[in-house]
């Protein structure tokens, strides 16, 4: 009996293509993010695409997963970049967004996206991957843990400096 059966058994997976994001994917990315977070951020995602999907592509990766079976619909995306010397850190791959269509979960799409961006970073000469997860979001935290991520050498700190002058919440 394979000892890994109880943890790694994969359900039937839809054929999936992970590729670089294109301009015509962004509306779907905006809609997917708005559905998951409950907050539409169209300008933010267009800006992210302009910066991470079109410039310095050797160190910036905006990838989408699409299903050929579902009419090439974008089912998830991941965005990351190589950052160097922030807080004294040697070059490192940062993943700062990863989302999967809630209707397409449990099909290992998040895992495929994570593996794809890991390969991109690895090909770019990077040996460490980093992300940040909300402490009260066990779904995201468990996902990254299941991909082998552990606590890194930094601790994120923050301080309230009062209500923003504009009265708007911070970014």
């Amino acid at each position: 009996m394979d000892a890994r059966k109880n943890r790694d058994e994969k359900p039937t997976e839809a054929p999936l293509l992970v590729r670089r994001a294109r301009a015509d994917d962004i509306e779907r990315v905006i809609a997917l993010d708005a559905r998951i977070t409950g907050l539409a951020k169209a300008d933010y995602w267009r800006d992210v695409f302009e910066r991470y999907g079109q410039r310095r592509l050797e160190e910036r990766f905006f990838l989408v997963a699409e299903s050929e079976q579902l009419g090439a619909a974008v089912l998830g995306f991941v965005v990351g970049e190589i950052r160097a010397w922030e807080f004294g850190s040697a070059p490192c791959g940062w993943v700062f967004a990863l989302s999967v269509d809630p209707d397409a979960r449990l099909q290992h799409i998040g895992e495929r996206l994570f593996e794809a961006i890991s390969e991109e970073f690895h090909r770019a000469g990077i040996g460490n991957l980093r992300t940040m997860v909300a402490r009260d979001n066990p779904l995201h935290m468990s996902f990254f843990r299941s991909e082998g991520m552990m606590a890194g050498p930094y601790i994120q700190l923050e301080k309230s400096i009062g209500t923003p002058v504009t009265g708007k919440p911070g970014p």
């Binding site: 009996m1 059966k5 109880n6 943890r7 402490r135 066990p138 935290m141 468990s142 082998g148």
Partner: protein
């Protein structure tokens, strides 16, 4: 961070059982592997049974089987069967407990507890099994490297 012995025994036992979900393992086998008392482990297994994480198999060659969901059950759920993360009552009402100094100290200790809770709550049995595998592979590689240098 220190776990009570019962929590550690429960995690050891569950990892051994979940690694071979179709095999029954006796309390004696687990006790021997970790060098722990069968009496203590039997009590732990009883608690795990009540939580539906293990199932007792009766008869000759009986023992326990894993009956939980390895991809869903977290270390926090296991640990909370045996201990609490809540502050002890004497800490809440003992000397100095109603001072600004204690409230400041409590803020720091709560931060540590929150991180511990988030960590244990995000690591499933399946993730732990992969981590155990990684250590096993690491040990083998280390032994191989030592042998090649011998």
């Amino acid at each position: 961070m220190k776990l009570q012995i019962a929590s550690r025994l429960a995690i050891y036992a569950l990892l051994d059982l979940a690694a071979h979900p179709d095999t029954q393992v006796s309390v004696a086998e687990i006790s021997e592997k970790y060098g722990i008392s069968t009496h203590h482990l039997a009590k732990v297994m009883h608690t795990l049974g009540r939580a539906n994480l293990v199932r007792a198999v009766r008869g000759a060659g009986g023992g326990y089987r894993f009956s939980g969901n390895a991809k869903r059950t977290t270390l926090l759920e296991i640990v909370q069967l045996f201990e609490s993360f809540a502050r002890e009552e004497d800490e809440q009402s003992g000397p100095g407990s109603d001072t600004e100094t204690d409230r400041a100290l409590r803020q720091v200790l709560d931060e540590i507890d929150d991180i511990a809770r988030a960590t244990l709550g995000s690591i499933t049995i399946a993730t732990m099994l992969n981590l155990v595998d990684a250590h096993r592979i690491g040990e083998k590689a280390e032994i191989g490297a030592t042998a090649s240098h011998a």
